[in-house]
């Protein structure tokens, strides 16, 4: 059963088992509020905000590190898949070189008209994953 993200977000934004709230520290420019992060799946950056929410949004993008590459996880656009948790996600394992994977990410977010606003964050995450994997390889 599909419900609008606008309805889900106010419920999920402060009541969720994934929510991680922190006290104010350092000079965060958030006034008295500390960091608001989430460990929910499908959240690209882990920030608890509507844009990045993996629970509220009908279309999400996430990159999960995998063996020698990354798994690109997106939520299915098919309307009947919305209430089927097992079949809801589209998973693609990408284990090519940096530029090729970056191109695929751009294609799946922007050129697809899927979630162009997540393009930047997705590419940034891929860069970080790639860097960490290179370092891991070096340590071996």
């Amino acid at each position: 059963m599909s419900v609008s993200p606008d309805l889900l977000w106010p419920i999920v934004r402060d009541t969720s088992c994934f929510l991680q709230k922190r006290k104010q520290s350092g000079r965060s420019q958030m006034g008295k509020a500390g960091a608001r992060m989430t460990t929910e799946p499908n959240n690209l950056t882990g920030i608890n905000s509507f844009k990045y929410s993996g629970l509220a949004n009908a279309k999400t993008v996430d990159l999960i590190p995998a063996e020698g590459g990354v798994t690109l996880v997106t939520k299915s656009r098919k309307s009947d898949r919305v209430s089927k948790p097992k079949k809801m996600m589209n998973k693609v394992t990408l284990s090519k070189d940096f530029r090729r994977v970056a191109k695929i990410i751009v294609k799946e977010t922007t050129e697809n008209f899927y979630r162009a606003d997540l393009n930047k964050a997705a590419l940034a995450k891929w860069s970080l994953i790639y860097k960490s994997q290179k370092r891991a390889k070096k340590d071996e």
Partner: protein, 387 residues
Amino acid sequence: MPAAARPQISVRSVGDDKADGVGAQIALPRVLVSAIRSDIVHFVHSNMAKNSRQAYAVNEMAGMQHSAHSWGTGRAVSRIPRISGSGTGRAAQGAFGNMCRQGRMFGPTKTFRKWHRKINQNQRRYAVASALAATALPALVQARGHKIDEVPEVPLVVPSSVESISTTKAAIGVLQAVGAYQDVEKAASSKKLRAGKGKMRNRRYTQRRGPLVVYNEDNGVVGAFRNLPGVELCQVDRLNLLQLAPGGHLGRFVVWTKAAFDRLDEIWGTGRGVSKTKKNYKLPAPMMSNSDITRIINSDEVQSKLRAPVKSHFRARRKKNPLRNLGAMVRLNPYALSMRRAALLAADRRSKNKESKIEAARKARTAALKKKHAGQKKKNYARISRD
């Protein structure tokens, strides 16, 4: 919302694909599309939770079983009542007050405290309807913490034959077949000693809640499922908000039997129709029929009525001092340019004048001096050369 528009839920197989009703398509009952009001659920839950409390109070005579009297003033002691008698250390000690040792507490707790709360029937029903609707949304069930990644569909409906299983082994089989066992395992592994004094007060362990199995007729279900950690059972007619929204949080993972699922429309009504079992009850009407604000904003009907956005490209200029900055001055007073030019020329003229005057004066002075000392040169030479 017409039944035809509502999505179809299929009954999932639990092993026997030929069991009664497997694969059947049921339209989503109207309750599961109710407005989701976490505020009402929270209010009703917090009051409902008070209803199972047991009274506690201190003994009403505690601290008061003395014949203590105040000694009054004039004896260099404070005025609290003091224990009468002598021959023991207890004599003359303060009594009765909340500040006294062995005294009665402030505001002794009474059994006649109002422990239970009445909640309006309609509010109770609204809350349950909301909580039920939340169980139909995978996002909310996930957010509540249930593991539903392997579940084929939410809401999860299993054949009515599940109501007749009698062994826990079979129950586990059912849940595994339907992807719900992950949640049970989560509950099982979460059993921990309670933090705090509760552990000595018969509340030794805490664990997470697993799936809620809702059935219509108990032909063994309850006996089969009740021993599984985290699993709770509920009959459809008696749905409990404390089980549907534990802790006041929406989104319990519910496993429906087909018989129970079929009964929902009958029990709650179809929104248009009144409920058959709840007298004169109609499901609450949501405030907004279409809650997708983003879509409304981006719709043709709305966008076609909007004017173009006013984008101001104005940027505040840094203030330049006209007294120091000629350009700023000229912006204010265009004549300043020619004034400045005239001033410069005048200054130039003045300095040239001054120079020529100084030159002339210097020349005159030199000539005068020369004249004054004209003969002296010869006299000096004669003096020096005279031996």
